[in-house]
Symmetry: C2
Subunit: 410 residues, 2 copies
């Protein structure tokens, strides 16, 4: 893509937003803050978000089928589970032609999670042992009525999330699928460039299970969670379930982290609320076991921006960078740049070509701020060759176009 | 994909929903009604919606850059334009820890259209004549607080829509881009299989312009609009702007239609409200001209279901069918079917293989109800060959696998 084709610009002013990730992403033209906790994804930001979600989708498609549920739900579904009174971040809205003051006004819920919607859907289609187990997921915009938001994309009033739900004939079958999801998540975080920074931590099972749930926690200084690593067993604990001696630094490592995913055995909480039973092979009626599994896709973008940067700007992992290459042409090199751009594009390499009529200094600064993994420069100085530099390195190399294509295609 | 991998089933009961499209799409397992006007897209339905949106995206990418705005907006933006008092379908919600009854409670709007959001974004990035013209679009979930909804996907409280906004230095420049969008829309509706059923009708310019706006109207008996065609000039008019003699059947053809897209010269309504000016080449300060252009992607799915069907079920246009092929294997043909499925998939042909252990009768009925363009059958009767039938035809043909691949690849 040519820079002149997108309408955004980087921001030079040093205004600081509520978090490092918001500041960097806004300065670099990836997002626009409409209000605290709600951000528009601009062309560069949408590319990153789409890449994160596509990686999640590809791994989910191996173990579940995709659907898209509604953001709105009738209040009655949340009354069925009682969560209308316990989930304190629910946003509510009132039906047309009704005043919020009216008694019995028809209210809708803006879902922050979707067990209340998916359980009746499962109940419609999966009623026999032959229909089970099955799993379904979606990648969708969700809402949380947070009192305070001060972490950019890491905590939003409106945010993107992948939520997967599974349905089983027994607790044993649920536990087996639970491990399948765990493996899929490990693969996802590896592909997102967070593999060695992300751990699986034990966390509370809430009122769903006496067992633990599991959180995928990415090391991040500005994260909201405290994690303890048992140095002997290599088991990680969220602070809420940490052993009593967790503050003994000879036994535990303590670090802050951001929750990027969670997997949760719901067991029979929702099937009981919706009276969701199936007919087993022997004709008996048995309750359905459920699991739920989330990944915060927009939060991950925030966490990555928060972690991978330097004083010059963002540093995207290869797999989710908006473009692989930032191409800079200086002075009278437009024609040569067009040819290089065309050939790289033909070789399926994603290029952002800074074709603007602005100073070379601004182009170099924007290359660093936007943070694509590779920078290519052609100028009078480079002659027939191309200067290649990685975002994470100071070294430059002069290469032929063929060498560049070979390097970037591997 | 194998049918056994998706969890939905077709419905045999003859329950009628609020519209033919809802009834057909629910019976065939494409959508699930969560409440009137709000539908979950199940695996088959999500495939169709994604295909519609991908066609729209490909044509839009040629003339604009994609972003994704928030569903929520602070109330203040809608107060700036005054539309908080004039748009009667706005959904509102209240910020955390505040009662709807409190004076000055912080309210959010759930956007039904996004001029209030996009104008300030444009204003941030495009302030010089060098930055203009530009256009940006999104494909997103929107909300309308409809008092009554009774048309399935054709009118929703929650729905999917593509909205494009353009920004110009003059009315003349806006008018030029307006024609570019018109052409892109013509191409989109052609690709969606609605080309010969969709007309461009003159409609009111509202309080934005004394000129007309333009609606893309698809002939549909259950549509909400009345269109008049001037038989002499071949100009189409929405009833609201039809000439006084429009009911003279010697001069006009009258038909009902569903609005699937609209293009609208906003002129300076929003730039005035937001005080959005640019600096022209000569240093003077001039107001920005705007246009907006919508396409209802989920509505289009409803309109197509409403129009293209017979007593046996849905009949999808090739370009947006959930799969090109519905493959039926009968009796002991699982192994042969697997081979055919693999080879078709390898040839990039999208196949839904009905691998379920159910009666042949149910498989044939589901093939018709789901409505993929081609049905393939292998059974003892077909021997080494494959029976091919189009959804729209009664004739069957026995073909070799190579012949099938050749036929479906063209």
């Amino acid at each position: 893509m040519k820079y002149s084709q997108i309408f955004t610009k980087t921001e030079k002013q040093a205004k600081e937003y509520d978090s490092l990730n918001a500041t960097l992403l806004i300065k670099a033209g990836f997002i626009y803050q409409i209000m605290a906790g709600a951000y528009t994804f601009l062309p560069l930001g949408l590319r990153v978000l789409n890449k994160i979600e596509q990686i999640v989708r590809e791994e989910m498609d191996k173990i579940a089928s995709e659907i898209s549920m509604t953001a709105l739900a009738p209040k009655s579904l949340w009354e069925t589970t009682g969560r209308i009174n316990t989930v304190d971040v629910l946003m509510k809205t009132v039906a047309a032609n009704e005043s919020a003051l009216a008694k019995n006004a028809q209210e809708y819920i803006l879902n922050s999670t979707q067990e209340e919607l998916v359980t009746p859907i499962a109940q419609k289609f999966a009623i026999s042992y032959k229909d089970l187990p099955f799993a379904t997921y979606q990648i969708q915009t969700k809402f949380r009525n947070e009192a305070r938001v001060k972490s950019g994309l890491m905590r939003g009033r409106e945010f993107r999330m992948k939520d997967l739900y599974s349905f089983h004939r027994s607790e044993e079958e649920l536990k087996k699928y639970y491990e399948v999801v765990k493996k899929a998540y490990v693969e996802i975080f590896k592909r997102l460039g967070l593999g060695d920074q992300t751990v699986i931590a034990l966390a509370s099972g809430g009122d769903f299970t006496k067992d633990y749930s599991h959180e995928f926690q990415t090391r991040c200084e500005t994260g909201e969670d405290i994690i303890y690593k048992d140095l002997k067993t290599n088991i990680y604990y969220n602070k809420e379930v940490a052993p009593p001696d967790a503050d003994d630094t000879s036994k535990f490592e303590k670090f802050t982290a951001a929750e990027v995913g969670n997997i949760f055995p719901l067991n029979t909480k929702f099937s009981q609320a919706f009276n969701y039973y199936f007919t087993d092979q022997d004709g008996s009626r048995k309750i359905v076991y459920m699991g739920c599994y989330g990944i915060g896709t927009s939060r991950i973008m925030g966490v990555i921006a928060e972690k991978f940067n330097d004083e010059k700007g963002l540093i995207w992992p290869e797999s989710i960078a908006p473009f692989q290459v930032y191409l800079i042409s200086i002075n009278d090199k437009q024609e040569a740049a067009q040819m290089i751009y065309d050939q790289l594009t033909q070789a399926k390499i994603e290029v952002l070509w800074d074709d603007r009529e602005v100073s070379a200094g601004l182009k170099f600064a924007d290359a660093d701020l936007i943070g694509c993994p590779n920078r290519l420069v052609i100028s009078e100085k480079t002659g027939d060759q191309i200067e290649w530099k990685q975002r994470t390195s100071q070294e430059t190399q002069l290469l032929s176009l063929d060498q560049v294509i070979k390097k970037l295609s591997t």
